[in-house]
């Protein structure tokens, strides 16, 4: 074996991300700059980060037309991973735009922030394409450790540190389950490759326990009920750009990785897992939506809503068909736009006082429409999209998911999901009502002036939510062609 004989092409986007991370990191130790210059340097680092993300996205798009390839059998670069990469890179780019101005309010550690963000991106990208248990485990840990730190990045705020601690403790706990599951599968088959596991699994106790423990671990990572305890706290306490990024990126990568793992569980028929996933999905949607009903903080409301959204996305895995996977990918794109957009708007409603739980409360949005009509409209669009109101992206995403479920014979699950959507409409609409129907008072609060970078992020998210809705048919079809190429 020599280095040039390796298939580096299949890892190009990830390598670009890692290299960018290192470049960003090195600037932390180069020269001393004054306070004023540090903010400028922070912006320069954000630009470097964005360029790295764009190059990686460009390379991923170029790979779309190439046949699937692998790197020493450890990772699989196929349509699935390419689309996942695009979702992750999109989420990261929007998060960088949000962080542009947000970060300077509480820290000067820009290079640490962006390099950890990029490492998390790399971890997610590797996680989504890994086809071997050791690689899967390490990638998962890269993204987890980066996110633990990013969650606690706001040193001025106790809630941020608290969120970080809770996220860390439960995340580390979940790693224990994942690695035990992986060990049992290794013991069962004598190999850590998914393909070997699929071929040699005994289907006995070790297979069953191994997959069950992996499922528990992944349920923690995608914040599925009953393994969601950390989610509201971590999402509410983390700096908002980080919340926006991890609510999309972690879910996307973990869902795709879970899909790959479960596909290798062929010796235990997929139906067994489908039932476990269906129950997980049912609980996740219902608990997430019901808990969101009584929230007074928009950020915490969005945290519970993102639990519920994970429940919808699990439906794609329950179906386990091409259609289900396609619908899940489509929903991930839609979710990236609407969820990050909503968090972007929420970040503008936060108070500047770090001593209190700096938070976007519902009261801050009271009568927002008469103060900031465009911002209120944008937030309303995201809320409508999350609630699944046509013709926005969220509506079509849900439609495709439910359709895939019915197609695969999960009519009851689709019905439950529809009922859940109706419940969720209540709290999403409540935000809209507060903004449009009520009169502004002293509690109404918007961080002014609204930074250009946040406006850019919101505009991109609005366009995404609208265009994905209007062009849902063609974009869903193009996802389909690529996904079909994936072996089942």
């Amino acid at each position: 074996m020599n280095l040039s004989s390796l298939n580096w092409n299949s890892l190009l986007p990830e390598l670009v991300i890692v290299a960018t991370s290192l470049i960003v990191l090195i600037t932390a130790v180069v020269g001393k700059v004054s306070r004023v210059d540090r903010i400028a340097r922070g912006h320069a680092l954000a630009v470097v980060t964005l360029i790295g993300l764009l190059i990686a996205a460009g390379l991923t798009i170029m790979q779309l037309s190439q046949p699937a390839s692998d790197f020493m059998g450890m990772v699989q670069s196929d349509a699935l991973s390419h689309y996942l990469n695009l979702v992750i890179l999109l989420a990261a780019a929007l998060a960088v735009l949000l962080a542009w101005d947000y970060l300077g309010r509480f820290t000067y550690s820009f290079s640490e922030f962006y390099s950890l963000l990029l490492l998390a991106v790399a971890g997610m990208m590797f996680l989504g394409k890994s086809t071997e248990l050791i690689t899967l485990f390490v990638s998962l840990e890269i993204l987890s450790i980066s996110l633990y730190i990013l969650t606690g990045f706001n040193r001025h705020q106790l809630a941020s540190a608290e969120a970080s601690l809770k996220y860390f403790l439960l995340g580390a706990f979940a790693s224990g389950f994942i690695v035990y599951g992986a060990a049992l599968l290794y013991g069962d088959t004598g190999s850590t490759w998914f393909s070997d596991i699929a071929a040699n699994a005994s289907g006995g106790f070790l297979t069953l326990a191994g997959f069950a423990l992996l499922l528990v671990g992944f349920a923690f990572k995608i914040a599925a009920v009953p393994f969601h305890m950390w989610t509201p706290d971590a999402y509410q306490g983390a700096p908002t750009p980080v919340t926006a990024f991890m609510s999309v990126g972690t879910k996307a990568a973990a869902l795709v990785a879970l899909f790959r793992v479960l596909q290798s569980a062929v010796s235990a028929p997929y139906e067994t897992w489908a039932w476990a996933l269906a129950i997980l999905s049912l609980l996740t949607m219902t608990v997430g939506n019901v808990a969101a009903l009584r929230q007074t903080s928009i950020k915490r409301l969005l945290a519970y809503s993102s639990i519920a959204q994970a429940g919808y996305m699990l439906i794609g895995l329950v179906a386990g068909t091409v259609l289900g996977l396609q619908a899940m990918l489509f929903y991930l794109f839609a979710y990236a736009f609407m969820n990050i957009g909503a968090f972007a708007c929420a970040s503008l409603l936060e108070s500047d006082d770090w001593s209190e739980l700096q938070d976007a409360s519902m009261a801050n949005a009271r009568g927002l429409f008469s103060r900031q009509p465009l911002l209120a409209t944008a937030l309303a669009i995201f809320m409508f999209s999350l609630a699944g109101i046509p013709p926005l992206a969220g509506f079509f995403g849900k439609l495709y998911l439910f359709d895939a479920a019915i197609d695969a014979g999960w009519l009851w699950l689709a019905l439950v999901a529809v009922i859940n959507s109706v419940i969720s409409a209540y709290y999403y609409m409540r935000v809209v009502v507060v903004m449009f129907m009520e009169a502004p008072d002293e509690s109404t609060r918007v961080r002014l002036p609204i930074p250009d970078s946040a406006i850019l992020a919101i505009v991109i998210a609005v366009l995404g939510a609208l265009l994905l809705g209007i062009l849902a048919g063609p974009s869903f079809a193009s996802l389909g062609q690529a996904v079909v190429a994936w072996r089942f």
């Binding site: 020493m72 590797f126 730190i149 070790l206």
Partner: protein, 168 residues
């Protein structure tokens, strides 16, 4: 002979583990941890994984336990008794979950794996050379990813240490 040794070590490991999770004082916990992890090193050597045994001693006894002790020294060792520090039902639930877990996995393993599955003689791949070859060929990617993991941990540690904006 080997059976007796195994049983004795297993007993030590289990007792140390119980000590680890029930001690009132974090220093005791950390010392039980040292005992526990040292026993693992002996298990690894019994399993013919000598390299892992040595690494276990160096990394755990040499680094992790010391790290724990340092932190305990900085922030105080009183970590509270298990029972008093929390509501009784949580304790019961934890106990039941733990017991169920052992029962499930233990019974499952006992039933599915034939007890005569033993290997005689030294395996071909126990030594440093074989591991090194594997790490730098087949497992090159996870090996390199592990370096990214350590980088993330390092940057994370530095970022946590950084002073906040106004303390500058």
């Amino acid at each position: 002979m080997a059976l007796l040794l195994f049983l004795a070590l297993a007993l030590v490991a289990l007792l140390a583990a119980v000590g680890m999770v029930t001690s009132r004082n974090a220093v005791h916990s950390a010392l039980f941890m040292l005992v526990n992890f040292a026993v693992y090193a002996i298990f690894y050597i019994m399993l013919n994984a000598q390299f892992l045994g040595v690494v276990q001693v160096i990394v755990y006894a040499g680094a992790i336990v010391v790290l724990f002790l340092f932190v305990v020294m900085l922030i105080g060792g009183e970590i509270g008794a298990v029972r008093s520090s929390l509501r009784r039902y949580t304790y019961a639930a934890a106990l039941i979950l733990g017991a169920l877990f052992v029962a499930m996995i233990g019974l499952g393993i006992a039933q599915t794996i034939s007890t005569d599955q033993t290997v005689a003689g030294a395996p071909a791949a126990g030594g440093v050379e074989a591991i090194g070859m594997a790490l730098f060929t087949t497992y090159l990617l996870p090996f390199e990813l592990a370096s990214l993991l350590l980088l993330a941990g390092m940057v994370g540690g530095v970022a946590r240490r950084y002073k906040a904006l106004d303390e500058d």
